[in-house]
């Protein structure tokens, strides 16, 4: 590629990146501002002076580590459950033939379109009857399986060549072993795609944890951060701090998995 071409490409990429990152960078800069500069006009793009005081204070006024731990527990168990449940559901639908297979698959898919106006309230009643009120299990179990993920994973399983399975059978491997040690490793890219989506969903979940959990000490990050927007107290820099803190882990996960993620997307759509 010519140097001019590369230069043009870089310029374009930087402009697009600024548009995409702009609002995020603004939050970052707000979180680093001192009180007086918060509402300065024209706005300061690069804070002067830069201060980490807001971060210290937010950790001071609320048990943020505690909320983070709750979020980690919730996200880890939620993502773990979801991936296991979706994998074991998608696999037979993709690779095994049994009576009712198509019916089950299409019935599952159709729920993506059907209306669900009172879903949250009905699910709360169920959680209550199962005795899961005020427990982390109650928060994650309704999302233990998600239709879209089953769909993605099924597409990925379908693409695995038959020979892989057959040669394992000849070697006398059992069904479950074929699933665990041959099939699942084959679709790692798709699993990482699913993992990222799951991680985002659980990490940012706001309303459902509030409803299921009776004890605010058990709240995950997203609802806890909304305490920063209290009805009688409100500090914009703190809100910015909270937002930045909550975004970082998702970005880290994405950075780690991004190559796999793109490959997973190919599998998902092409099939």
């Amino acid at each position: 590629m010519s140097k001019i071409g590369a230069f043009l490409l870089y310029t374009l990429m930087i402009i697009v990146a600024l548009i995409c990152l702009g609002p995020f960078l603004w939050l970052l800069s707000t979180s680093l501002k001192t009180g007086e500069n918060l509402y300065a006009f024209p706005p300061q793009f690069i804070p002067n002076p830069i201060t980490f005081e807001n971060y210290v204070k937010v950790f001071d006024i609320m048990p943020l580590w505690n909320y983070m731990w709750n979020t980690v527990v919730m996200t880890a168990s939620g993502v773990g459950l979801n991936i296991i449940f979706c994998l074991i559901t998608a696999y037979p639908l993709a690779r095994l033939s049994f009576p009712g297979r198509n019916f089950i698959f299409f019935a599952i898919i159709s729920t993506m379109i059907l209306p669900n106006a009172a879903g949250m309230i009905v699910n709360f009643i169920t959680i209550n009857k199962l005795g899961l009120y005020n427990s982390m299990m109650g928060v994650v179990i309704p999302s233990a399986i998600s239709v879209f993920n089953v769909f993605l994973l099924r597409q990925a399983f379908i693409t695995i060549p038959r020979e892989m399975e057959d040669s394992a059978r000849v070697d006398g491997a059992g069904e479950f072993r074929i699933f665990c040690s041959i099939m699942v490793p084959m679709i790692k890219p798709t699993i990482s795609t699913v993992l990222i989506f799951d991680f985002m969903a659980f990490w940012n979940s706001f309303l459902w944890p509030i409803i299921v959990l009776d004890d605010p000490k058990k709240y995950p990050l997203a609802p806890a951060l909304s305490y920063l927007q209290g009805s009688l107290s409100f500090n914009f820099a703190y809100i910015a701090v909270g937002t930045i803190i909550s975004i970082i882990p998702i970005i880290v996960i994405f950075l780690i998995l991004q190559k796999q993620f793109i490959n997973g997307m190919v599998g998902a759509v092409k099939g």
């Binding site: 509402y39 706001f206 509030i210 009776d214």
Partner: protein, 433 residues
Amino acid sequence: MKRIGRMTVMVLAVSLLLSILAACGSSGTKQVEDTPGPVTINFWTISLSPTFDDYVNARIKKFEDANPDITIKWTDLPYGSMENKLLSSIAGNQSPDVVNLNTAMALKLADKNALVDLNKEATEEQLSIYFESLLHSARIGDSIYAFPWYYGLGVLSLNKEIYEAAGLDPNQPPSTWEEMKEHAVIIKEKTGKYGFVPIYNPPIDLFLRGVPIINEDKTQIIVNTPEALEWAKWNKDLYDSGVVPKESITADAGYATDKYQGGQIASFITGSQFLNRIKNNAKEVYDKTVVAPIPTVSKDGKVHGGLMNVVVPTMSKHHEEAILFAHFITNDESQLEFAKVVNILPSTKEAAKDPFFTEGDSNEPEDVARRITATQTDKAIDFTLGVNKEGEILEFLWKYWKEMLLGRMTPEEMLKKAEADMQAKLDEILAEG
């Protein structure tokens, strides 16, 4: 893909059938049981934590010490999640016992029979401590559904610097809305900044200007009056003239606060309890602030106070204990202490008389605001229609008011249409019983 379509239709049909069966088999059961012995009272508030943790926990401790059989479990909910959590909990038979709600939300639950009628279940003595006008905010017919809690009254905050830059004297604040406008015109001309951001609340604004909104019998909507027309026209002219930002049509208190904190508007009207936001967020602007009474509106001096209430849901299993605590957290002592932590006004008569509200001569904006608003407590109201589903009736006024500002209808048309549609809705509600 034909199959997905066919299958979806089938699943839909089967689900419908099943659900009809399910619906026939089930019916809501509501029961109230009063069990003797130790009880736990679930107390829900709206976004008071973590700022007021110390205050609330201290009050709870005091109550528990006096009532060893009752344990209070306090849950503070983030703003915006109360409706969802409350509805789900009532549906799931996990109803809280004492809940902090604003008046509109309390009334909505009240007309669904979800709240305890305190006129029946609370004692005369318990009810007697509150200002009657505030106690009656959550009244429908003869029933009273909430103990009033804290509220704030509006004060006018002026940014000294902008006022002086425009050649105006901040110590002579505007005392009428006409003056507000005159000042705003001058400020716009001299500094390019806005004088103020109107925050519209058509039902209350009109009511304070002598528009009855509803008749005594609660059967007739009266919105289309000369006073109403005058106010509507005045606002329309103001909006069209560009003296106030076009964004004011969607502006709420938060928007105006942000602009004021940013030094972008010269003055704004805010609840006295929110001044501490400016103090925390923009100390510079706070230090430049002069606080004055709001421009006069109503002839009889009535002022609007956005009220927070405490209610007891019918689904609570311990009405008696719940009422006891609801009364405790809103009694003179509790409110007075709360007022000392944050700039709110008490809804009880004795607490309001406390010298704390009137004494002192500091020029600190928060203190000035407290002294100003303390003289108005007996004139404070939180306007309500006092009929079922009032939100759905008032919605027309809100909607048409905005459409008028946007030029989709004239002030005359707006009032006529609002009155007609509100009346139709009221008739429909009265017909339902």
